[in-house]
Amino acid sequence: MHLLYMVFIDPFVQMAQAPDLLVQTLWEGLVSGMLYALIALGFVLIFKASGVFNFAQGIMVVFAALTLVGLHDAGMPAFLALALTIVVMFALAFTVERVVLRPLVNQPDIILFMATFGITYFLIGFGEFVFGGDPKVMITENLYLPKGPITYHAFGGMVQVQKLDIAAAVVASVMVAGLGVFFSKTRIGRALRAVADSHAAALSVGISLEQIWVIVWFAAGLVALVTGIFWGARSDVSFALEVIALKALPVLILGGFTSIPGAIVGGLIIGVGEKLAEFYWGPLVGGGTDAWFAYVIALVFLLFRPQGLFGERIIERI
């Protein structure tokens, strides 16, 4: 009886008694959910256009952030380093298309998945070899990102919001909106959607698959760079981020592999759910639930909707 009370009643009583804490937890959840969503967005871009499940997206985030910080440490002005990092991400996209995707075209999915593991390993080794393996601090001030907290007195207490998180939310929204416009209004964007629908049909109307793949990987690289900057500003820039990047996978499950809105909604659900569970129910089982809670939410969703919230319906034929 006591256990039932602790599981089903007590957390809600706590929520009602201290609404400021609830709002704070919700905000924290939204912020981390946004970062998950950004990583998932990179996955979705590549999966839509090439059908490749790009495991290296998480590493691309770290690699982009590391390149930016590394170039700045080498004595470059911040914005020159930023521009050069964008060039590096383009070079990466180009190389991946040439060296990995082109020879493996038309192979089973799992082989391409495995190849992105190869990219992951290579990028970890390369990043650490060039820029050193120790954690670095993101150059927040040099990029004119705001810092410090804003405190609101509301909900019978106070809620603290980091300015950086607001900036991240604004930049992320602008980027998603920009991607949306790019996909629906421009010539290349329409070509991308055509490729996503059917490779063969796109080829037959004269769309170059190779070119599209480079563009998509470059777009994913840019998303990775933005994610890397904001994530790096919240914690250190190091390859330990890799484990957190795995959190993007349950986000994909919720949102479906092919939906950009799905990635964002999924990310927010996972972020908020995980923070609420850890804060209100975590102490009952000894804490640390955020290591697996996201996956369990995803698993429960999958049992009812195997294609995710926004995914395309899976139709099987014999």
């Binding site: 089973p108 190869g118 390993y121 080794g125 484990v243 996978l249 994909l252 369990v296 995803a298 999958l302």
Partner: protein, 357 residues
């Protein structure tokens, strides 16, 4: 000419059902087994401890995952956690009942893992492909969390780690710090040979055919009268059994002690690399993949020293990462079907030798 099936007739059912129907295969396997049995006499402790024992254990885990992913077509990323279940349950069992033979508990821990694996295999009926892979990630992270948060599993040790106690078999110490590497090697070898033989019989029999039918197209398999849920659950259970035994062997006969981080997600990925590089749906491929993925970094790490280059350990580590990544991509491009396929191509070359075709 060197490898000819021609002229080797199967004149009765016993020969038809033989595991190695070709004479050359029988000779080959006999040679390999003899070498495996003779290797401890080189008295090279590094070779046994750091190369052969881990290689055999990883091969066993790869066979386990290959039964699930390669033969049944269900992608799993929970291998590391299932190995952990084997290790922790074996530890728990031998601590509670120290008088029972340790080999019995290693096998029993396989059955415990099989039960847990079957539970986490239930979603596989509705979920397929990458979605299933992520569902098994839930198993990976949840079980790993259990290894840390449930102190009963590691017998309330203050360190939070499991320490392998000393156990004997016929008066010979086989586990614990005082066991010689030769004894441990022979025990591991015995397990691996027996379980590979078992797996070979499984995949060539009715069960294996059912798994492969499900892999190739599950709806068609269902229409042919194969019940999907029992078949998929059986694949999960058998695969987990292999992983569990491999995990128990890993801690009891190789590491000598372990904590939860040994069974993390990277362990799962390593085993997955092994079967994809080695060849999906091939027992031989499990061994080849384990050899390549496990032994290659060791060689790469030792190589600069051997040719007289002195580099920082960290630098060597980073370069090893780069080379491993590049080699994975290289092997996939060169032969996407894995090393086992290369061996088949080689066999064909041996058949027609000295002619080109």
């Amino acid at each position: 000419m060197l490898y000819r099936e021609a002229g080797q007739f199967k004149t009765d059912y016993v020969r038809d059902q033989a595991i190695f129907p070709i004479l050359q295969d029988r000779i080959g396997i006999a040679v390999i087994l003899t070498i495996a049995l003779a290797l401890p006499f080189t008295e090279n402790d590094f070779l046994l401890n750091a190369v052969l024992i881990p290689f055999l254990i990883f091969s066993l885990a790869s066979i386990g995952l290959n039964l699930l992913t390669g033969y049944t077509g269900l992608l799993s990323l929970g291998t590391g956690a299932f190995m952990g279940v084997g290790a922790y349950s074996c530890y728990r069992l031998t601590e509670s009942f120290p008088d029972v033979n340790i080999l019995v508990w290693i096998v029993a821990s396989g059955f415990v893992t099989a039960a847990i694996g079957a539970v986490f295999g239930v979603p596989s009926l509705r979920i397929k492909g990458f979605y299933l892979a992520i569902a098994t990630l839930a198993a990976q992270f949840f079980l790993e969390w259990c290894f840390i948060r449930i102190p009963w599993l590691y017998n309330y040790n203050t360190s939070g780690a499991i320490e392998v106690p000393q156990r004997e078999l016929f008066g010979v110490i086989i586990t614990g710090p005082r066991a010689t590497s030769e004894t441990r090697y022979y025990v591991v070898l015995g397990f691996v040979v027996a379980m590979t033989w078992l797996a070979s019989n499984l995949v060539h029999g009715r069960i294996g055919r059912m798994w492969m039918a499900v892999r190739d197209m599950d709806i068609a398999a269902e229409l042919m009268g194969i019940r999907l849920l029992p078949t998929k659950l059986l694949a999960f259970a058998v695969s987990s059994f292999y992983c569990g035994v491999a995990g128990a062997l890993m801690v009891f006969l190789w590491y000598g002690g372990a904590e939860a981080s040994v069974f993390n997600i990277n362990q799962s990925f390593t085993i997955l690399f092994m079967i994809i590089i080695g060849g999906l749906g091939s027992l031989l491929g499990s061994f080849l993949g384990a050899a390549l993925i496990y032994i290659m970094p060791i060689v790469l790490r030792e190589a600069p020293e051997a040719i007289g280059l002195h580099m920082h350990a960290a630098t060597v580590e980073h370069i090893t990462f780069m080379i491993v990544g590049a080699l994975i991509i290289f092997f996939l491009i060169a032969e996407p079907a894995g090393l086992a396929r290369l061996w088949q191509i080689g066999k064909q070359k041996l058949r027609v030798w000295p002619f080109p075709y």
